[in-house]
């Protein structure tokens, strides 16, 4: 137990040593995930994949607040991701707003949509919640699709150029993929820190309580609907940031970022990584995007294989990759 974590790579992996490493990762969750993500670009074959994992990890993290911590399956989170992208993109392309306020607009836009969707959906539960959120998100999709002048319709919104990032003391070019990664890293890191604070806060305690026993939470004096709605909106803000960053990353906003396929990806990533765990979303995003990347090299039918792997996980490892590790450690 007294071995330092960095030695574990060299020595023979014994169960107890490994589990102590996993436990200390859990204790310093923000620091751990920041350190791991910091070295990501050196580990992965190319930076664009690393950027994708950051953005999709953040998307799944936001989604996990509703799915993992509140236990409600939303199929409408594409709306928050997409609106985050479009609000940022439209602000930059049509109004010449600089990148930072544009990102804020993306977050706020997603929050606004989450407020409206949440107000309509939050009183439903189970499959009805999933269906209502799905339907509302599709409404958003067609609305944006029809607003061709602003959104570019089917072709998506092109020309989202952040260009150079001038911080006063130095200028960075986002055309350099490594710079772009660390640009995203700052935002995602901040979001992860904030997310962790929420989970550790009294509000996070209420989320746990509601997931554990809604009736009891109500009898204790919690307004369950209002709490769920608030969590839904917070979740939307995180997904909105992910969308905003994706707009800058791709320099276009594809209409697909609003499609329900996007919502499905959040579900798959959360389940793959481990719903309701702090690292799960990033582990899931990593697993999903790596699988996609590797299998695409072998065959164009990568979705078939990802689907099979996904099914294996749902059937045999319902806690996901990280959830299973935690379970194994805590035995």
């Amino acid at each position: 137990m007294n071995s330092s974590p960095e030695n574990t790579g060299e020595m023979q992996i014994s169960g107890r040593r490994l589990s102590s490493v996993v436990r200390s990762i859990g204790r310093h969750r923000v620091l751990s995930v920041l350190v791991i993500l910091f070295f990501f670009p050196f580990i992965l074959p190319y930076e664009a994949l690393a950027v994708n994992i950051l953005i999709y990890g953040l998307f799944a993290l936001g989604f996990n607040m509703v799915f993992g911590y509140l236990g409600m399956l939303s199929f409408g989170h594409a709306a928050f991701f997409g609106i985050g992208s479009y609000a940022t993109g439209i602000a930059m392309v049509h109004f010449g707003v600089p990148w930072l306020p544009a990102i804020l607009l993306g977050i706020l836009g997603a929050g606004l949509i989450a407020m409206i969707m949440g107000a309509m959906a939050i009183r439903t539960t189970g499959i009805y919640f999933a269906m209502v959120t799905l339907a509302l998100a599709q409404c958003v999709y067609y609305l944006i699709y029809q607003m061709e002048e602003w959104s570019g319709g089917e072709d998506g919104l092109t020309g989202v150029k952040a260009g150079d990032i001038d911080l006063g003391f130095a200028t960075f070019s986002l055309f350099d993929p490594t710079v772009k990664y660390y640009f995203m890293y700052v935002f995602v890191g901040g979001a992860i820190f904030f997310f962790s604070r929420i989970l550790a806060s009294p509000f996070g305690a209420i989320l746990e309580a509601i997931r554990e026993n809604e009736n009891r939470a109500r009898a204790c004096g919690y307004n369950v609907s209002l709490t769920k709605w608030t969590a839904f909106v917070i979740s939307g803000l995180f997904c909105g940031l992910a969308g905003a960053l994706n707009a800058i990353h791709l320099s276009v906003v594809p209409i697909d970022s609003l499609h329900y396929h996007m919502s499905g990806q959040a579900v798959i990533m959360s389940l793959l990584g481990g719903m309701g765990t702090f690292f799960g979303p990033f582990v899931g995003a990593f697993a999903f995007l790596m699988l996609e990347d590797v299998i695409t090299l072998l065959t164009t039918h990568w979705q078939l294989f990802v689907g099979v792997i996904f099914m294996i996980f749902v059937l045999f490892f319902p806690k996901g990759v990280w959830g299973s590790i935690l379970h194994w450690v805590s035995r």
Binding site: A200, S201, E212, N213, A217, A219, G221
Partner: protein, 255 residues
């Protein structure tokens, strides 16, 4: 029968309440009053409407007709969480706790409901007074050795005790308990009865119970329901000697 002969202020009153589920009348025209500081037991055979009355009085759902007053103020149709915030707490018939959370955190989150509902920033460990209060509540219900056990790993009797602690977390002036000894062993039952007697010394308690013998010893007042209708009320002695009660209720045990 709503008049209170002793003159103590009234805590809770149900005025002519009726509850229908579809076409079924679970309760009809019930008038009951609960004066401050009294331990009232609501008893009756299975299907008497005890749990329905309990749910109406504790705010789980509003009555189909009639009104409910708390300290003289009408509270009919007020939401469940508002009941708790007014100081009306309850424990459920089927154990209702937060299973995958430790006993201490169970109580802490219940205490937090009264003071801190939308803080998303300060770590909850910073609220030391809440944790201390939770610990003292756990001690009160006899769970001081189980702070860090998951609620789901506690024994049945301990879970029931934990639920009482959850109910006490909002510092209620009115405590409603629905069959708090359901499924308990005789030892657990007697511990629970002692606890309830203890709690009743400082607050108003309404106890719903199926087993009449249990409540005879501890309650000041009993209300008997039968087939969703009011049958009788009075002191334990009154009820014991009431012929109608004997016929519908006590008679069952005489076979």
């Amino acid at each position: 029968m709503t008049a209170d002969e002793t003159g103590t202020p009234e805590m809770l009153r149900a005025d002519n309440i009726t509850m229908m589920f579809g076409g079924f009348t679970a309760l009809s025209n019930i008038n009951v009053s609960f004066p401050e500081g009294r331990l009232t037991a609501i008893i009756g055979p299975n299907g008497a409407g005890k749990s329905t009355l309990f749910n109406l009085l504790s705010g789980a759902f509003p009555p189909s007709a009639g009104k409910i007053f708390f300290k003289g103020k009408e509270i009919t149709g007020v939401s469940q969480h508002a009941f708790a915030r007014m100081g009306i707490a309850k424990s459920f018939q089927i154990t209702n706790i937060f299973p995958q959370i430790t006993a201490l955190e169970n109580v802490r989150v219940a205490i937090q409901a009264m003071t801190c509902r939308f803080n998303v920033w300060t770590p909850r460990s910073k609220f030391k007074e809440m944790t201390d209060e939770a610990a003292s509540l756990l001690e009160m219900v006899g769970l001081h050795q189980h702070h860090h056990r998951l609620a789901s790993n506690l024994a049945h009797g301990e879970q029931r005790a934990l639920e009482i602690a959850l109910a006490l977390a909002c510092n209620p002036c009115l405590l409603l308990l629905d069959e708090p000894t359901a499924g308990m062993s005789p030892e657990e039952t007697s511990t629970m009865m002692d606890l309830i007697t203890d709690l009743a010394s400082t607050r108003t308690v309404i106890l719903v119970e199926h087993k009449m013998k249990l409540v005879m010893g501890i309650s000041n007042h009993l209300i008997v329901l039968h087939h969703g209708e009011f049958l009788a009320e009075g002191t334990p002695d009154d009820i014991r000697s009431n012929d109608e009660v004997k016929r519908v209720y006590l008679g069952q045990g005489a076979h």
